[in-house]
C-alpha cells in the first residue's frame, strides 16, 4: 500500500483543501492524506483571483449576463395544476363567447332564394345553355318569396354564386390595377387573354371585368315598389383610390366573344360600382356580392316579389345563382360557424380539464 498525497479543488472557491480519498489497486482501501505537503504547488492552481482583465467583458451588466447565458429568465413549469387551470380558463371564456356568437348569428334574418333553374322556362329546362345564349328570348323572371321573420332595415341584397371560381389562377391574375386607376395607356400583358380587341386596348381589361355579372333585380312588396339603394355598395377606398375618376370604359365587350355585362362608356370607372364590387375577387368558389341595400323594414309573413333579369350564364358549368336578403349584426351575416367552434372548443376544454383533474387526483405525481 502506498500513500499518494492528492487533492482536488473546484477552481472558483477560495483555496481550501479538503482531504480526499485515493484508492489504490492493491487494497482498494481508502487512505486519508493530509495536504500540507502539496500546498505550495496547489496554492497557485486554485487561486481564484478576480482581477480585472483587459479585453474581457466587465463582470456585471446585462451584456455580461448575456455572454454567460445567465440573463434572468422566467421559467414556467408545465405542472398538472397549470395545465388544468389553462383548460379551465379556456372553457370558462370560450363557452360564453360561443353562446354570444350563436345568438348574434341567430338574430340575423336571412332569405336565400336560388333562382337559376326556376328562371329557365320549362321548354328550355333540358338545354339551359341554348336559353341563356339566345338573346331573342326574354330573360325576365318573377319569383316570389314569403318572409318568415321580421327584417329590420338595413336589409342587404346579395347575389350568391356557387361553383364559380373567381380564385382560379388564370382568372384572378387577369386584371390591371394600373389601368383601372390611370387609364388605357397602362394596358399590359397581365390582362391576357382580354387585353386588346380589334387592335385597340380594352378598358377595363382582363377576364374579371370581361365576365362582369349582369343579372339585375327589382323588388315589389304587394303593389308597392321596394327601393333598393345601389349607391355605396363598393368599398369607399376602392372608389377613391383604386378606380380612376377620369377613366372611362373603352372598347369594352366589343370583341367576337361577349362575356358578361356591358358598361356605360360615359360613366367613369370610379362610379361603376357593380364593376368595383365584382372586381373584388372572391377567395372561395361560393361567394356573395353586394347588390344593394333596402332601407325599409319588412314584416314577417309579407311576400316579396323579385323581378330578375336572368342574363348571366352559369349553366355551362353548373353554377348556382341565388338571391340573398339578409340583415346584419356586429358579427356580420348569418354564420353559425364561430359560435359552434367556440362552443366545441370550450366544452372540450372543460372536459379535458375534468379528465386531467381526475387523473391528477387518482395518480398524483
Amino acid at each position: 500500500l502506498s500513500h499518494l498525497p492528492f487533492c482536488f479543488f473546484s477552481g472558483s472557491s477560495p483555496p481550501i483543501c479538503r482531504p480526499c480519498e485515493v484508492r489504490t489497486p492493491a487494497s482498494g482501501r481508502g487512505s486519508r492524506v493530509e495536504l500540507a505537503a502539496v500546498m505550495d504547488e496547489a496554492g497557485s492552481s486554485a487561486s481564484a483571483g478576480s482581477a480585472p482583465r483587459g479585453g474581457r467583458p466587465a463582470r456585471s451588466g446585462v451584456f455580461y449576463k448575456f455572454t454567460q447565458q445567465d440573463l434572468p429568465a422566467w421559467k414556467p413549469a408545465m405542472t398538472p395544476g397549470y395545465v388544468i387551470a389553462i383548460f379551465l380558463i379556456i372553457g370558462i371564456i370560450f363557452v360564453p363567447v360561443g353562446l354570444i356568437c350563436l345568438q348574434a348569428s341567430n338574430r340575423v334574418a336571412e332569405i336565400v332564394h336560388r333562382y337559376d333553374i326556376d328562371c329557365v322556362p320549362d321548354a328550355y329546362r333540358s338545354n339551359k345553355q341554348a336559353y341563356i345564349k339566345d338573346s331573342s328570348i326574354s330573360k325576365k323572371c318573377i319569383q316570389k318569396v314569403k318572409v318568415q321573420y321580421h327584417m329590420k332595415a338595413p336589409i342587404y341584397v346579395y347575389y350568391e354564386l356557387d361553383n364559380f371560381y373567381q380564385n382560379h389562377r388564370r382568372y384572378i391574375k387577369s386584371r390591371s390595377d394600373k389601368q383601372l386607376r390611370h387609364g388605357l395607356q397602362y394596358t399590359d400583358s397581365s390582362c391576357s387573354p382580354i387585353e386588346r380587341s380589334n387592335g385597340l386596348p380594352v378598358v377595363p381589361c382582363g377576364l374579371i371585368a370581361w365576365s362582369l355579372f349582369n343579372d339585375t333585380y327589382d323588388f315589389t312588396r304587394g303593389s308597392m315598389g321596394l327601393m333598393v339603394d345601389r349607391k355605396n355598395i363598393s368599398w369607399r377606398s376602392d372608389r377613391e383610390h383604386k378606380y380612376g375618376k377620369d377613366v372611362y370604359p373603352f372598347n369594352f365587350q366589343n370583341g367576337s366573344l361577349i362575356g358578361g355585362g356591358k358598361l356605360d362608356p360615359d360613366i367613369p370607372l370610379s362610379n361603376q360600382e357593380d364593376l368595383i364590387v365584382w372586381m373584388r375577387a372572391a377567395a372561395l368558389p361560393q361567394f356573395r356580392k353586394l347588390y344593394g341595400v333596402i332601407e325599409e323594414d319588412i314584416q314577417a309573413d309579407e311576400t316579396i316579389t323579385m323581378h330578375i333579369t336572368n342574363n348571366y350564364n352559369t349553366y355551362s358549368f353548373g353554377g348556382k345563382k341565388s338571391l340573398v336578403l339578409t340583415t346584419s349584426t356586429w358579427l356580420g351575416g348569418k354564420n353559425d360557424f364561430l359560435g359552434y367552434a367556440y362552443l366545441i372548443t370550450g366544452s372540450s376544454s372543460i372536459f379535458l380539464c375534468i379528465l386531467f383533474a381526475l387523473i391528477h387526483v387518482k395518480i398524483p405525481r
Partner: protein, 1002 residues
Amino acid sequence: MKRFVYINDESYQNDYCDNQISNTKYTLWNFLPKNLWEQFRRFMNQYFLLIACLQLWSLITPVNPASTWGPLIVIFAVSATKEAWDDYNRYISDKQANEKKVWIVKNGARKHIQAQDIRVGNIVWIRENEEVPCDLVLTGTSEPQGICHVETAALDGEIDLKTRVIPTTCIGLDSEQLHKIKGVIECPIPDKDIRRFDANIRLFPPFIDNDICPLTINNTLLQSCYLRNTEWACGVAVYTGNETKLGMSRGVPEPKLTAMDAMIDKLTGAIFLFQLAVVVVLGSAGNVWKDTEARKQWYVKYDDDEPWYQILVIPLRFELLCSIMIPISIKVSLDFVKSMYAKFIDWDEEIYDQETDTPAHAANTAISEDLGQVEYILTDKTGTLTENKMIFRRCCIAGTLYGNESGDALKDIELLNAVADNSPHVIKFLTVMALCNTVIPIKSPSGTISYKAQSQDEDALVNAASNLHVVLVSKNGNNAAEIHFNRRVIQYEILDILEFTSDRKRMSIVISDSQSGKIFLLSKGADEAILPLAYCGQQIKTFVDAVDKYAQLGLRTLCLGWRELSLEEYLEWSRLFKEANSALVDREWKVAEVCQKLEHTLDILGISAIEDRLQDGVPETIEILRQSGINFWMLTGDKQSTAIQIALLCNLISSEPKGQLLYINGKTEDEVARSLERVLLTMRITSSEPKELAFVVDGWALEIILTRYKEAFTELAVLSKTAICCRVTPSQKAQLVKLLKSCDYRTLAIGDGGNDVRMIQQAHIGVGISGREGLQAARAADYSIGKFRFLKRLILVHGRYSYNRTAFLSQYSFYKSLLICFIQILFSFVSGIAGTSLFNSVSLMAYNVFYTSIPVLTTVLDKDLSEKTVTQNPEILLYCQAGRLLNPSTFAGWFGRSLYHAIVVFLITIHAYANEKSEMEELSMVALSGSIWLQAFVVTLEMSSFTFLQFLAIWGNFAAFYVINLCISTIPTAGMYTIMFRLCRQPSYWITMLVSITIMFF
C-alpha cells in the same frame, strides 16, 4: 527526387518559384465566378436557384419572383461578403509578408529588397527578432560558436527557444566571406515535414574543404520562425514562397459535418421527395380538372388548341408553390445560432482558465451540437489528465531510495548529506541529470539562470540537479558546457548528442572532461531501454523494484546510466556516426543503428522519479461524464503501469473487485491473437454483469491487432466501455479514432501535445488543451480549453444546449414552412387546382425570412433545464447522444403538427370568412394572421425559459407583423390597401384569431 541549390549563383537560372506567398483563395477577377461556383455546389443553393429561375416565367409563377430572388441574393451576398472579407484579410497579411524588406546578397554586396523577390539560392540576412522570410539553410550567425536561437511558435506552436547550428563546413567563416561563398546544397523536393531535412551542403573552392557536409533540420531556419537572442544570422534560401515547409503543410482542413447536419440534410432530402410527390399528384389532378371542368367555365377562357408545354404549366406552378417547403432561411438561421454557440463558449467565464489566462475557444464554429452527442472520448494522458508540470520527487541511487518518507527527494536529509559528502554515486547521478539533455540555460542580467527545455522531464531533472548544487550554468552551442558544483567550476566539452527518438526511448550524450580529457557516455531513458544495457554482473534488481514501486505511485521514471569511453573507441564510432548523419536515405534508422553501437555495458546509476500531478477536478469530470454515458479511452505514450495507475487515480477504471482489467499482450502474432481471443471471450461473458471491465493494450500488440485482427478488435471496442492503450504512437491514436468512427460512434479526442494532433484532426470533435507542450494541439483542434475539467461544462452545458436548440430550430423551420405550404395546397382544392397562391408575394417572403425566423432565433437563449440540474443529473445527456430530439420520428411529429395546424387554420378561415366576407385579400390576411398567431404561441410553448430578449423577439415580432401590415395597408397602390384596417375593426377577425390559437392545445 532532389533539388540542387547553387548558392549565390546569379548565372544559374532555376525555375523554382519566387518567394511570393499567396494564401488567398480568390483574385479580384475570379472572385465572383469562383465564389458563386462554390456556393452552388451545395444542393440547397442549386435548388433555390432553380426555383428562382422558374419564377421568372410569369405564366407559372404564383408570386412575384422577388420573393425568392430577394432572400436568395441576400443569403448569397452574406456568405460572399464573409468569404471576401476573410480573403481580403489574408491578402493584406500576405502583402505585408511579401513586401517586407529583407537584406540579401547580390553580386557580392548586400541589398535591401522585398521579401517576395527572394529566389532560391539567395543568401538572406536576418537580424534579431526578425521573422524568417523563407526556408533557409543556416550559413552564419553572429555567435562565434555558430549557433542561433529561434522561436518556432508559428510553425509548431512550441513557445520555447530552439537552438540552430550552422553546418560544420561553414564554421569560422567571417561575414566578409559569407558574402562570397559559393557551393551547392542537395536537398529533397519540398515537403511538409517540419522535423526532417535530410540534405547535404558542399562549398566550392576557395572555401576550405570540398567535403560533403550533412544537414539536418537543426541547420535550418524555417519560414515564419523568429530569430531570438542572436544579433544576426544568414542563410541560403532553399525553399521559397508556397513551397516552404510552412507553405506545404498549409492545407485546407476537411470541413466537419455534425451528426445533426447530416440528419438535417437527410430530412431535407425527404421533404424534397415529398414535395415532388405533391407536385406530381396535384399537377396531374390540376390537368385533369382543367380538361374536365375548367374548359366548361367560359370566364376562364382556356384556348382549345394550346402549345404542348401547357401540360407542364400546372405542375410547375405547384412546384413553385411548394418550393417554400424547404425553408430558405434555415441555413442562415443555423449559421447564426451556431456562431452564437461558439461565442458563448468563447465568452464563458466558467471555462476560462485564470491560472494561464486562457479563455476557451471554439475555432470551429459549426460543430457545437456534436459536443452533446459524444459517445466516446479518447484522451491523452500527459498534460491532458495531468498537469504536465513535472516535479522531481524521488530517486533511487545505487540501491538507496531517497525521498520515500517526505515524498520529496529534494528535502531528504540523507540525499542532502550524500551531496555534501561528495558521495561519488550521487555526484555522478546528478551530473548526468544536469548534462544529459538538450536544455539551454539562459542567464538573466541579474545572474539567475533559467532553463529553456523542450521536454518537461529534462526541465525537472536539470532544476532538481541545480537545487542539489549541481548547476548547469552555461552551454555554448553544442560544444562546451559548464557546471558549478559547490563553487567548483567543471568544464565539459560536448562531443556528440545521440538524440531521443520515440523508437529508441533513450538519449545519450558524449562528453569529455576538459580537465582530465576523459570521454564519457551519459545516457538516460525509459527503464526498458536502459536497464538491458547494464554491464554484465551489475545487480539491477533494486532498480527494477524501484521502477515498479514508482510506477505504482503514478510517477514517471527515467533510468540514468554512464560509461567511460576510450579515445580509440570514440574516434572509431565518431566516424561511423558522422557517416550515418550525412546519409540521405533512411538517416534516422542508420543513426539509431550507430547509436546502439555505443550504448552498451552501461553503469546504471539510478532511477529518477518525476511526478506529474493530476489536474484539478479530473476524477470528478471523468466520473460525471461516464455517468452521462460517455465511454473513455485513454491513449498514452507512457508505460503500462504508470498509465494504469493514473487511470485508477482519475476514476477511469475501478480497482478489484468492482472492476477488472483485461490485458492484451504478447510479443508474437500468435500470442497477441490468443490474448485478444481470451479478452473478447471474457468480455462477452461478463458484459451482462455490473462489473466495470476495461482492457489494456500496448502499442506493440495494438500494431499487430490493427493490421491483422481488426474485426475482433472492433467487436471488443464496441463491447468495452473503457480502454487503456499505452505506448501508442500518434498514428495509432489516429487509427483508433478512425476505428471507433467506423463503428458509427461520435468521437471526441482530447490532447495537448503535437503527438495528439493527428488524433484530434481525425475525430469528430478535436479538443486541445492549451498546455505546457505548446499550442500545437490547441491550434489543430476544434475547441481549445485550458483545463481538462472544463470538458464537463463544454459537453454537458454547451453541447447539450446546442443540441437541444438546434433540434428545435431546424425542425421548427421545416414546421413553419410546411404549415404555410399546406395552407397553399389546401387552398388549391377550393381554387380549381390551378395553383393560385392564397398569399401575396410580400407576405410570403416576410413570413419566411422575417415573421417566423426572428422569434425562433432566440432559441439560442433557451434553457430547458438549468445548468445545475444538468451537471447534477448527467444521465440526461443520453437523450442527446441517442439523438432523441432530432430523428425521423420527431420530425414526423412536427410534420403531422404542421399538417394538422394548416388544416385547422384553413378550415376556420374559410368558414369564418365565408359568403359575403370571402374577399381574396381579406381571407388571405386572415389565414396569414392565424398562422402568425399560431407561430407565436408554438414558439412560446416550445421554449422553456424566457428572458426579456425572448419576450421582445416573440411579441415584438408579433407587434411588428401588425405594424408592418397596417403600414402596407396605407399604400393605395398596394393590393392590401385598407385591408388590415378593415380586419382590425371586425370583431369576427379577433374572434377567429382566438379560436385559431387554441387548437394547438388539442
